[in-house]
Symmetry: C2
Subunit: 223 residues, 2 copies
């Protein structure tokens, strides 16, 4: 890539949506620059006019590739996969691609949106929902979603060491950050043995390890 | 298609995720059978063991194509697009595809998941959030999301009569059901003129009209 094609990822170390894209960038072997967006300091730097100009929702991640701006983690990962096809993050057959996308979307559409920072801030600010109740809310949606993913993984012959066969892909890019979030909020993984097994297989790979929240340049020294 | 390739859509007339898939099926000119799943009667028929066997999350839609089962509305639409490529629901270039997917995901990942039935039921059942407050919650997330979509549509040269150019596609399949939901809960569309214009252009097409909630076989006679 020449300089005009530099990849810049606007990211926050603990954002699970940014974590997905970091994994995909690493699996593709793409060098990128991290531009930290602190989601809490100064009332949340994702709300500055400068960042909102890149991302009108005020959400991370945003990927800037040369002069162009890409938003929404799953759209970004598919963009990476279409632009740099090797190694593929989606299988070849339409029916297998649909399965992988459905697993990814179970995380990205049905678990994570309920538990991200802006929603938890709404519950606290608008309704004064106590922290213990907010954590119950988080665990409820995480448990329900992971139970469905566990069933879909257990019941399907395509499941291998990873969500689809023997190489990590789009679904794994979503599952690992979701498991990170689950553990952060004290969800017991024992009822989801396949999820736990796939998560461990992923984290043993350097591409996943380098993407971990604690390995980001903007991670605090002590957490 | 021979009989083994019959398309059956497990749907609920008012589900906006099912509505997305109905539009896509119609745009592809595919005949399909509607299998109604009543989300309210009998405590919600999406929770029966028979339906959960098809869809472990107990959510609609589910598409059955021959012997195979497809879940998650966006994954289903991309499956339809890959299996029946004409007319395309995504543009040809990776960067344009990413834009369309990001618009679709703004609806499917950031607006709709917060406002669907299971979440509203949780708020009522677990926290006794009064109806007026639940409707405020809905309008908050809808307004925030539509404002971002309005900005993304207004600011981009790819926007045409539809979200991308002069033919409807994946983003329109998501936008129109979200606008239906917005209007159902009294969100004023005046601040989102481009959204309103695209929505009107879509609904003027027979493929969108046939997919409307009120035109479904399971819609009640008087609503």
């Amino acid at each position: 890539m020449n300089d005009s094609e530099t990849l810049k990822l606007h990211s926050y170390w603990r954002s699970s949506a940014a974590y997905r894209v970091r994994i995909a960038l690493n699996l593709k072997g793409l060098a990128y620059e991290t531009v930290p967006v602190h989601l809490v300091q100064d009332g949340g730097r994702q709300h500055t006019p400068e960042y909102r100009a890149l991302n009108p929702q005020g959400l991370v991640p945003t990927l800037v590739h040369g002069a162009r701006v890409y938003r929404q983690s799953l759209a970004i990962i598919e963009y990476l996969d279409e632009t740099w096809p090797t190694p593929p993050l989606l299988p070849a057959r339409a029916r297998d691609r649909a399965r992988v996308r459905a697993l990814a979307q179970t995380v990205a559409c049905d678990i994570h949106p309920l538990n991200n920072l802006r929603v938890l801030q709404f519950l606290e600010r608008e309704w004064s929902v106590p922290q213990a109740e907010r954590e119950l809310w988080i665990r409820h949606w995480v448990s329900e979603g992971l139970a469905a993913i566990e069933t879909l993984l257990q019941d399907h012959p395509s499941t291998g060491s990873f969500c689809d066969g023997e190489a990590p892909g789009l679904a794994d890019c979503c599952l690992v950050p979701q498991v990170f979030n689950a553990q952060r909020f004290g969800v017991d993984l024992a009822p989801y043995p396949t999820v736990a097994r796939v998560n461990a297989a992923c984290l043993a790979l350097p591409e996943f390890d380098a993407a971990r929240p604690e390995n980001q340049p903007d991670a605090p020294a002590s957490q």
